[in-house]
């Protein structure tokens, strides 16, 4: 998948009920317990199995141990290992999961650097139901192709 930095304004609005997934897994990577809880519950509402990691290194270590996830929500600013470094490392490992950057509103240069690390998409936090629906729709398309 190639990154295209889709913005929420260009998304098709899909009802959440259309994309309930019982066989997709997600990893939420964020140093904020609040954001981890928020995205955890949000994704579980769509039927995903969710794990959380408090920084990029924990996320990378999970993959090193053999874990795999269909979707990774990657915060940008984290201690120990930030989202940019973690994304680069995951792609270097050959991880093909959909990796979605989740940032506070940064300058365009900073988002670009994050995208170039290997993201598929980058959105401003917190993710809205419309954005999550879009991502799951994209994941389903990707999985159906394979």
């Amino acid at each position: 998948m190639s990154g295209n930095g889709a913005s929420s304004s260009s998304l098709n609005m899909i009802s959440g009920e259309d994309v309930v997934n019982n066989n997709l897994s997600a990893l939420v990577v964020d140093d904020s317990p609040l954001l981890r809880l928020l995205h955890d519950i949000h994704l579980k509402k769509y039927g995903l199995k969710v794990q959380v990691a408090e920084n990029g290194k924990v996320a990378v270590d999970l993959f090193h141990l053999g874990a795999s996830f269909d979707l990774v929500l990657m915060d940008k600013e984290m201690p120990v290992m930030n989202g940019v470094e973690a994304t680069k490392e995951l792609r270097a490992m050959g991880v093909t999961s959909m990796i979605v950057g989740v940032t506070s509103k940064d300058g365009p240069g900073e988002q670009q650097a994050f995208m170039e690390a290997g993201l598929d998409y980058c959105f401003e936090k917190p993710l809205t139901p419309e954005i999550i629906s879009f991502l799951l729709e994209e994941l389903n398309k990707h999985n159906n192709k394979n």
Partner: protein, 154 residues
């Protein structure tokens, strides 16, 4: 007070929080995530926010009191507070953080100190608002009623 009256009070109170800018649509998203399997979700998330914000505000007080102020560190803390306030729909806190970051960018200590007070004030105000909101919800639940939902577009 009768159940219907408390429910009406809750609806009116919640609407006033939106009208006064304390909350934005993100709060409604939070409420929609709450269900029977996560009945205290909103309370948990809001509680996490206030735990976070207290720590961050204390870090900011210390950081701004240093002889050589580290604006990058301050910006990082404010950035985090902005992110978490935005996530629960605490709009006025979020806006105060945006102004704070602008002063960090230009390394204006006085501006940062003023903004810190503003952020503290907004956190204090919204905390009181949430306490009232949760108290009304608890009264409704204790009376055997259900908490009414607010629709956007009121």
């Amino acid at each position: 007070m009768e159940l219907v009256q408390i429910q009406r009070s809750l609806v009116d109170y919640t609407k006033s929080l939106f009208m006064e800018g304390f909350l934005d649509a993100q709060f409604l998203q939070l409420q929609q995530l709450q269900d029977d399997s996560n009945p205290d979700f909103v309370f948990e998330v809001v509680s996490l926010f206030f735990e976070d914000s207290e720590k961050l505000l204390n870090e900011l007080i210390i950081a701004l009191d240093q002889p050589n102020v580290d604006f990058k560190k301050i910006d990082s803390h404010v950035h985090q507070l902005k992110g978490s306030s935005s996530s629960i729909g605490a709009q006025r806190v979020k806006n105060a953080c945006i102004a704070f970051r602008n002063y960090c960018d230009v390394q204006n200590i006085e501006g940062c100190l003023t903004c810190l007070q503003q952020v503290k004030q907004e956190c204090y105000l919204v905390k009181n608002k949430f306490e009232t909101l949760f108290r009304l919800e608890q009264q409704i639940m204790a009376s055997g009623g259900s908490v009414p939902t607010i629709e956007l577009g009121f």
